[in-house]
Amino acid sequence: MPDPATNAPEHILVIDDDRDIREDLRAYLTENGYRVSTAENAPAARRGIHSEEPDLILLDVMMPGEDGISLCRSIVRLTSIPIVFISARTDEIDRIVGLEVGADDYVCKPFNPRELLARVRSVLRRSNGNNREMTPEKTRYFEFDRWTLDTAKRCLTRDDGVIVSLSSGEFQLLMIFIARPQIVMSRERIVELSHAEGADVFDRSVDSQVSRFRKKIERDPKNPDIIQTVWGGGYVFAADVKKL
């Protein structure tokens, strides 16, 4: 694995049956400082992976012959190369399946190239930091109080089956809390964590975010059980969290 510090370009393998996309991605990623090789189908991809292990794989879901999902499963079984899916499908189901077979991220065509670049960087950073196991996305369901959180669908299900929607901000806030139950966090710490985890939505204050969120999940928002205020300290996620 090339050391980012040594300026050796990281190697990305692009697997897509569409020639234009392959060549455009090669050109775009090369221009942005990566070394790129391409494969048009699963057998070519396997040869590429064997001959020279890439640092990251961009993988098209729908390909003639063996599809991306199946290829992803076998790559994940044999190597620890991070995989980002590219697909023209936007169905939630595909996104979830993609993440469940072990992909690290998922972008949909027509993606914004700069967004793709940001995701590639973020996945590479995580994989180089060797902390992939710690990323909370690896667990899909969390349970706390009377709620089940589905991180893939980004929604909460109450114990009576009612689905409660979360805004992006609320989801990020919940992910921060859920990873650190029973730990008191100051407002500054929460903002810091939100930036660290790629969140950029905390324009509004943490206080107003928390108070909005309580209306959705607390039995009595004025007398909260789950996210409690610690006077002078910040907030604590007081409920027990179970990974499912």
């Binding site: 569409d18 234009d20 996309i21 455009d24 991605l25 050109a27 775009y28 221009e31 023209a88 939630e92 065509k109 027509p110 993606f111 914004n112 190239p113 700069r114 929604c155 109450r158 009576d160 089956g161 009612v162 689905i163 409660v164 929607s165 979360l166 805004s167 992006s168 901000g169 609320e170 939505v201 324009d203 909005r212 209306k215 959705k216």
Partner: protein, 457 residues
């Protein structure tokens, strides 16, 4: 169906008529004799101890009786005398006479003697089945409008003479009941036949409305009278054709939309590598627009076709999250505080998309959007108000049709694609809900989504 009903009703009709005939003829002479006996009993009450069978009297009333010194029905007038004697339990030495009368045609109240009940031909022909070789079998019919007279010698030279009223259809017997049943039955059959013709037409009207609103065709049962059946068949044919045509167009649109994603992606990547920053920005905007239209067309083509199951949704959280996300994207949208927490059955992504389209429209044409959530009349209601000029009243229905845009010039500037409201309407209606627009008196446009509340919520 019709044939079965016809056969059934004919059968009932015949049954009723036969019953009626049977009951009105039911051994009438025998009954007349019983009545005579009753009459006798009545007389006996005055002198002879015997109970009185009132019911029989009621059925066949003794019209008149008198005691006289001569009989109005002389013994030997009818062959059924012996029968009567037996019925009445009279001793052989009591003289009995009976005569049968029928109404004279065309002269109400006038009677003629029925000769077929006449005297025994050879004096040796009492009641009972006649011999097989007997000459013309006396007709035993005795029924409607007929009456009998009975004379009985109760003592030497003293005769009791009875006359019954003509037999009428009344009282607790067969009476008017069969006729009433018949009339009701006829009316019933008439109404049924009419409904049989009208109901399919009603269903056709309903199906035509459904077809006109969402291009889905529920095949109608081809039933009813011939002409109706033919119309239904033609309607079904038309519905199937229309549905498959529209479905085909949707598939085509979806396929095109889907296939455009790859070249758009390719173009986006190429644009990022353009050297000229101005050119790059212009191309990005054009591509963004192309992508937006493609996605909208794709959404319109696939709206409501996902087939994913409905789930109970907390509508408050759905609206609140969407408003917050859109506000974070810089849209001028606010959510009015509410204590309502309606639960509806639905697909969260589709309802979110519907509401987002309304909010984006409100912000695009009406500067800002104010969203309210409430419950009224068993429906959860989401209202989106804007501060724009509203829309012409005659265009209110038209704007829900695909690709209808009201002001081309304004539209180009504001970037609508004419599919947002159509998609919203399709999705809301797939949830059994309604969507409507109205101009507010104080200015601005009010868009309303009404969704049925979850049944037990």
């Amino acid at each position: 169906m019709l044939v079965i009903m016809a056969v059934l009703s004919t059968f009932i009709l015949v049954f009723v008529i036969v019953q009626f005939q049977m009951s009105s003829r039911d051994d009438l002479p025998g009954r007349a004799m019983r009545v005579a006996q009753s009459a006798l009993s009545e007389l006996q009450v005055q002198g002879w101890p015997q109970s009185l069978p009132v019911e029989e009297l009621k059925r066949l009333k003794v019209d008149d009786y008198f005691v006289g010194d001569h009989p109005i029905a002389r013994p030997g007038s009818s062959y059924r005398e012996e029968e009567l004697r037996a019925h009445l339990g009279l001793a052989d030495n009591v003289a009995v006479g009976v005569r049968f009368f029928g109404p004279r045609m065309g002269r109400p109240g006038d009677f003629r003697e029925l000769t077929e009940f006449g005297p025994p031909e050879d004096g040796s022909r009492p009641a009972g089945p006649p011999d097989a070789d007997a000459s013309p079998q006396p007709q035993r019919d005795f029924g409607l409008g007929q009456r009998i007279m009975v004379s009985i010698e109760v003592s030497e030279g003293t005769w009791i003479n009875l006359r019954t009223t003509p037999i009428k259809l009344e009282g607790p017997g067969p009476g008017l009941l069969p006729v009433a049943v018949l009339v009701v039955l006829m009316i019933g059959i008439g109404v049924w036949a009419a409904m049989n013709a009208i109901n399919p037409l009603r269903q056709m009207a309903k199906a035509a409305n459904t077809l006109a609103s969402d291009y889905t065709h529920q095949p109608l049962a081809e039933q009813g009278p011939y002409d109706v059946r033919e119309s239904l068949r033609a309607f079904n044919r038309m519905g199937r054709r229309l549905e498959s045509t529209v479905a085909g167009q949707r598939q085509l649109l979806a396929a095109i939309g889907h296939d455009l994603r790859t070249p758009i992606t390719s173009l986006k990547l190429k644009v990022e590598m353009l050297a000229d920053a101005n050119e790059r920005e212009r191309m990005r905007r054009a591509l963004f627009e192309l992508e937006r239209i493609t996605e909208a067309a794709l959404a319109a083509a696939t709206a409501g076709q996902s087939g994913k199951p409905f789930q109970p949704l907390d509508l408050f959280s759905l609206v609140d999250s969407l408003v917050e996300d859109l506000a974070d994207l810089g849209l001028a949208v606010s959510f009015v505080e509410t204590d309502h927490r309606p639960i509806v059955m639905g697909r969260s992504d589709e309802l979110t998309r519907s509401l987002r389209n309304l909010i984006e429209n409100a912000v695009r044409y009406g500067e800002r959007a104010s969203v309210e959530l409430s419950e009224r009349q068993g429906m959860a209601t989401i209202q989106v108000r804007d501060s724009g000029p509203g829309i012409p009243v005659d265009a209110i229905d038209r704007v829900f049709e695909p690709l209808v845009r009201l002001e081309e010039s304004r539209n180009r500037k504001t970037g609508g694609h004419g599919l947002g409201l159509h998609i919203a309407k399709t999705l809301v209606e797939a949830h059994g809900g309604r969507i409507s627009l109205e101009n507010l008196e104080e200015g601005g446009l009010l868009a309303t989504i009404a969704l049925p509340l979850k049944a037990d919520a």
